[in-house]
């Protein structure tokens, strides 16, 4: 053990690390937002009772959840240009992450929807609400409330997944680490720092999730 720690590589590149953190946050939040929309749509398909929509949703979930994320990412970035669709690394990353998160959240949200009592839906229908409005105003929020903790865990996984997109040179925190490492060979210091920065990002997002819970899901504490 005659390795001398030299964290100067970190101090000297603080700006790059900060930029990496913000890029990762931006990447994660954008793709999670799109992914949530996909998840709600997928769950709607799974629970609609419409055989075709259900089949589409099942195929989507099965395909995405049973293939490696790295392959999905490579397909969007290296594969799609084969049919003339050329995406920037950033676009391919958002697309791949959103589609991946959408598949996992479809199953989580579906469970939430199935936990909503039949009486709730009947009450909505009896008031004259259309099927779609029953979903939007009666089912959606309590369903999300039911599965909020699982959804937040999945969001944390999705944040950590963003580091994979450094493989197609999308610029985010891991990319910054790889870049500095290749120049300085200070792997230990750099990756340890990066790890702590991911920890900080996850804590920050968990705090956001807590605020969202306070604002939108406070009703859950009164449900017996």
């Amino acid at each position: 053990m005659d390795y001398t720690m030299q964290f100067s590589v970190v101090w000297n590149n603080v700006g790059l690390f900060i930029q990496g953190v913000f890029l990762t946050l931006q990447l994660a939040l954008t793709s999670i937002a799109f992914g949530l929309v996909l998840g709600v749509l997928g769950a709607l398909g799974r629970t609609s009772g419409n055989k075709i929509l259900n089949a589409i949703a099942v195929a989507y979930v099965e395909f995405i959840r049973n293939t490696p994320f790295l392959i999905q990412l490579f397909f969007f970035f290296f594969g799609l240009p084969g049919i003339g669709l050329r995406l920037t690394p950033w676009q391919a990353s958002v697309l791949a992450l959103a589609i991946n998160f959408g598949a996992y959240s479809t199953e989580i949200i579906r469970a939430g929807i199935e936990g909503i009592g039949k009486g709730q839906i009947e009450a909505g229908m009896a008031l004259g609400l259309s099927k779609l409005k029953v979903f939007r105003h009666v089912v959606l929020m309590p369903a999300l409330g039911n599965i909020y903790p699982s959804l937040v865990s999945q969001i944390v996984i999705a944040i950590l997944f963003t580091s994979v997109v450094s493989q197609i040179s999308a610029e985010e925190l891991t990319f910054v680490g790889n870049f500095l490492q290749s120049r300085t060979f200070r792997s230990f210091e750099i990756y340890l720092t990066i790890a702590f920065l991911y920890l900080g990002i996850v804590w920050f997002v968990k705090f956001l999730a807590f605020l969202i819970q306070q604002k939108f899901f406070s009703f859950m504490q009164y449900i017996r």
Binding site: A123, A126, F217, F219
Partner: protein, 261 residues
Amino acid sequence: MTQFDSMGAIATADDSKDAVIVAQDVEKWYSNKFHVLQGVSLTVHRGEVVVVMGPSGSGKSTFIRTFNALEPYQKGSIEIDGIKLTPNMKNVEAVRREVGMVFQQFNLFPHLTVLQNVMLAPVEVRGWKKEQAKQVAGELLERVGILNQANKFPGQLSGGQQQRVAIARALAMQPKVMLFDEPTSALDPEMVSEVLDVMRTLAQSGMTMVCVTHEVGFARQVADRIVFMADGLIVEEGTPQEFFGNPKHDRTKQFLAQILH
């Protein structure tokens, strides 16, 4: 049965304008072939309060749930305020706008405050402005005595309070008729009267009501007519005096002996 069928038919012909609900020979089978409604006819006139009684499993809840298409039926016809209830979804929603329903389990929306529960349908279905809906909701909540809880979530209220909110929520759509499906059966005994009081006031205000209930006192005082169902049929109907004082059928006598102890 035939006597009631023909009575129903005459009533429809004579004062069809005055009838809010005209159900004729309604038959329903569950998917397991159980014949839950075996040809039930009922005409409810404007301003009338009809109480439906009967042993559990007699089909009384199922019957009133066909009036707003929460239960599909296979034979017969149902007309609500002149609108034929057909499987066409457009028609179903038109009927549901005019029919208020109060459920045994309240079924308030847990993520909306009491006020939002009452405002939801007027805004989303009738297209009212929020301000207008809020004002009407406030008036209704005052009528049922819950205005001071308007900003709480349903889960913070007692069962009796929740059921009163559910009544206000249904009334906010300004329905032509109100259906009550065992509204006090899920309540603790000490909360039954506060809900029945609201229903009594509502009946006095001239609301057309069909109530499935086991509350004998309410039926005696408030009902214009009592309908007794057993085994998917209307066995007997009459005024409370006739029904409780001089029941004709053995099945009715047997039921009354059981519930009147």
